[in-house]
Amino acid sequence: MRPAFSRRINVPGVTTYDWLLFLHVLAAFTLVAGLVAYAVIVLGPDGDAARRALVAPALAMWNVGGIGVLVLGVALAIDVDAYDLLDGWIVAAIVLWLVASAAGGPLSAGLRDDARSLDRRRARMLYAVMAAATAALLIDMIFKPGA
C-alpha cells in the first residue's frame, strides 16, 4: 500500500504521491469546470452571446483537465503498490474517459467553428453523454469497485 515515491518534497509531511493526487484532483475540477461551461452554452437560454464568451474557456478546461486527469491518474496507478493499471475500476475509468472524449470532440468542434452547424438536439445528446460519462467516472474514482 505504500507509494513507490515516498520521499518528501518542499512541504513537511507532503510526499510526491500527495502532489500527484493534488494535481490529479485539480485536473478533475478543471474538467468539470469545462463541463459546467458547456452546460451553460448547450442547455442555457443565452444563445450566441454565451457561446462566444464561453466556448474557448470551456474547450481549454475540458482538454487540459481531461489530459491531466488521464496522465496523472496513470501516474498514480503506477505509483501506488495497491493499484494496477489492469484493475477493473481503472480500466472502467479509462473506458469512461474515452467515451467522454469521444462525445466532447464533436461537440467542441461544432460549437467552436459555427454553432449553426451543430443541431441543438445533437448538441444536447453529445453533452448528455459527456456529463453521464464524467459523473460515472467520478463515482468510479470514489467507490473504486473491486479495489
Binding site: M1, R2, P3, V11, P12, G13, V14, Y17, D18, W19, L21, F22, V25, L26, A28, F29, V32, A33, G34, L35, V36, A37, V40, G44, D46, G47, D48, A49, A50, R52, A53, L54, P57, M61, V80, A82, Y83, A135, L138, I139, I142, F143, K144, A147
Partner: protein, 149 residues
C-alpha cells in the same frame, strides 16, 4: 493514501462533498469568465450579466450546499482531529467562502439591474470575488488532498 485506506462507509458522503465542490468551482469559473465578457461591453452584455446571476443562483449556491453538507456528513463519520491544519483550511474557506458567494450574488443582481448600461463596478467586484474564491478553493483542494500537518 486515504483513498486506498478509506472505509466504504465514507464513499457516499465523499461523493456528495466532491461533486458539490466541483459544481461550486465550475460555476465560479463560469461567473468570472461571463462577467469578464460582459465588462468588455458590446453585444450580449445584458445577456452575460444575467447569465452570471443565474449561474450563481443555480450553480454556485446549490454546489456550496452539497459541498458543505457532504463535508459535515463525512466529518461525522471520520474521526479527524479538529486542530488538523487541513481541516482548519477547509472550514475557513468553506464558511468564509459562503459569505463571499452571497456578496457576489447580491452584486451580480445589482449589476443585472443596470441593463444596457453594463455591469459597472458591481460587475467588476463580482468577477473579482469569483476569481478570489476559485484561488482559495484551489488552495483548499491542495489542503484536502495532501493533508499537511
Amino acid at each position: 493514501m486515504l483513498a486506498a485506506l478509506r472505509p466504504d462507509a465514507w464513499d457516499l458522503p465523499l461523493l456528495v462533498h466532491v461533486a458539490g465542490a466541483m459544481l461550486l468551482v465550475g460555476a465560479l469559473v463560469v461567473v468570472a469568465v461571463a462577467m469578464a465578457g460582459a465588462l468588455r461591453g458590446g453585444e450580449g452584455t445584458t445577456v452575460l450579466t444575467r447569465l452570471t446571476l443565474r449561474t450563481l443562483l443555480l450553480g454556485a449556491l446549490p454546489g456550496y450546499v452539497l459541498m458543505r453538507a457532504g463535508a459535515a456528513w463525512i466529518a461525522s463519520k471520520e474521526s479527524v482531529p479538529d486542530d488538523a491544519t487541513w481541516v482548519g483550511i477547509g472550514f475557513s474557506t468553506a464558511d468564509g467562502g459562503l459569505l463571499l458567494v452571497v456578496i457576489a450574488t447580491v452584486l451580480a443582481w445589482r449589476a443585472s439591474r443596470r441593463g444596457a448600461a453594463g455591469p459597472g463596478a458591481a460587475g467588476r467586484a463580482t468577477a473579482a470575488l469569483a476569481v478570489v474564491l476559485v484561488l482559495a478553493y484551489a488552495v483548499t483542494i491542495w489542503a484536502m488532498t495532501t493533508k499537511p500537518g
